[in-house]
């Protein structure tokens, strides 16, 4: 049984901002379907009353004081930028506001 169709993979890849080419989609879709099928076994394992565990540590309330620390210089901040311009990061045109 197929859990994850080729279209599903294409859709999820879009959500993840990966522009898969057709041949990649063909290759990955089959593997992912198999993997999802396998991880899906977990579905029936835990009863509804088992609490989820998102973290191994029982820590709470880890905070820092509101005190300024040195920032990077503008030059350091932009040192790895593919397209810096006037102290800012140049990015291609943005389609719509979030």
């Amino acid at each position: 049984m197929s859990n994850l169709s080729r279209d599903d993979v294409a859709h999820v890849a879009m959500l993840a901002r990966i522009q898969l080419e057709d041949h990649e989609l063909d290759r990955l879709a089959g593997q992912l379907d198999q993997i999802v099928d396998w991880v899906g076994q977990i579905n029936e394992v835990a009863a509804a009353d088992v609490p989820p565990m998102s973290h191994p540590l029982p820590l709470v309330n880890v905070t820092r004081p509101d005190e300024v620390r040195p920032s990077l210089t503008q030059q350091q901040a932009l040192a790895n930028a593919p397209d810096p311009e006037g102290g800012r990061f140049g990015v291609p045109r943005i389609l719509d506001e979030e």
Partner: protein, 510 residues
Amino acid sequence: MTATTDRTVPYADALTRYEPVMGLEVHVELSTATKMFCGCATEFGAEPNTQTCPVCLGLPGALPVVNRTAVESAIRIGLALNCRIAEWCRFARKNYFYPDMPKNFQTSQYDEPIAFDGWLDVEVPANEAGEPPFTFRVEIERAHMEEDTGKSTHVGGATGRIHGADYSVVDYNRAGIPLIEIVTKPLVGAGDRAPEVARAYVAALRDLLRALDVTHGRMEQGNIRCDANVSLMPIGSEVLGTRTETKNVNSLRSVERAVRYEITRHAAVLDAGEKVFQETRHWHEDTGITTAGRPKSDADDYRYFPEPDLVPVAPSREEVERLRATLPENPAERRKRLQGEWGFSDLEMRDVVNAGAVEVIEETVAAGASPAAARKWWTGDLARRANADGVAVTDLGVTPAHIAELDGLVTGGRLNDSMARQVMDGVVAGEGTPTQVADARGLELVQDDGALQAAVDKVIAANADVAEKIKGGKVQAAGALIGQVMKEMRGQADAAKARELILATLGVEG
């Protein structure tokens, strides 16, 4: 684009058929010294990308640490909005890609907000149509902590707007500044006053947040930003209509206008038997309309999950009570109390509030001035001076102590009103305290009745005709003589005393 082709119906007309339902989401930028998850400064207007670090640039390997003061501010805001404070809550990642968001997820809160289930009573003033003031209870769904994004500037294209731009440049100084998002429950029942309720709510919220001293609260700088959700329900129906979300409505006036516009637009769509399209809308301040933005879509699959790089926030009840004790009086209640204490009329009090002079008058009264004198100075003479100079009234260099001292000089009989204004000239010019200025300028009412009587006699002699009229019962003609007496005295006399002497000299009852 369909921007200019949207139809609307007249507002009053829409309200005969539909009940508006609003939901307001307000993002408040906190005025903490540092960002939500890193130690970068939050100064407004710094050179681009000079207040960034590995954390707020989303560099590989960087990890967030929560700003304690931001959490305290969030709790205080929650308490001031009569919310319940979570005993245990977490941050969550809201995943979506956007160039001004360094990690491509926003660290926010999802189903476990720090504050929830509150309310704020909002005073909606009388309107131009003569409808009376009323109080509307805005139910608060939640207030949660999150972080701001960077700021994009769109380059090229005809408009400088996002559409048609060639590319954009991003400054991440704002990325990571703490935000509190305050979300109302659906607001129903305001009828035709809904847009006014929206405005009054944002205004009340702004005043409350300023009183809490948690934000700079400057809407024009984006410290407070409002998203307005609007839908219409046919009157008599209980089914909520499809809503639109108008983003970034960033002035009080715009909040009212944008809600009003969306009501008229939705009504036109529904009247035509069509369906309102669920989407975000952009507000255009210049034209007063909204235009279609992004439709609700798959891109809204934010894949929230608990932020694994942070641990839960579990404020103890003692901590919550400690913070509750720091809450200031609710601004609306405080205004009511002060108005009573000061004996101001509604109109006078509104002037004071509009002038932003509540605090300074309070301090001036505390320094010993009468409330009336404090109000007269701060909303009158000083407000005019500040206006002329284009500065805030509190930036003139005049202190509440100065006003109290000056008021003492007037009530004590040393200065009259015109002399007091001259003294104020000197105080504003930085010549010293009112007493120092009065001394230096030799301003003092002449207390010697002999000199005043001589001046009165001289003026009566020179104006026999006027004196006759006064004797004949036209007491108000004395005004002309007072002016001349004051001139004789070079202003250094008490006008009331001069009047008294003129009448006495002429044997007339005052």
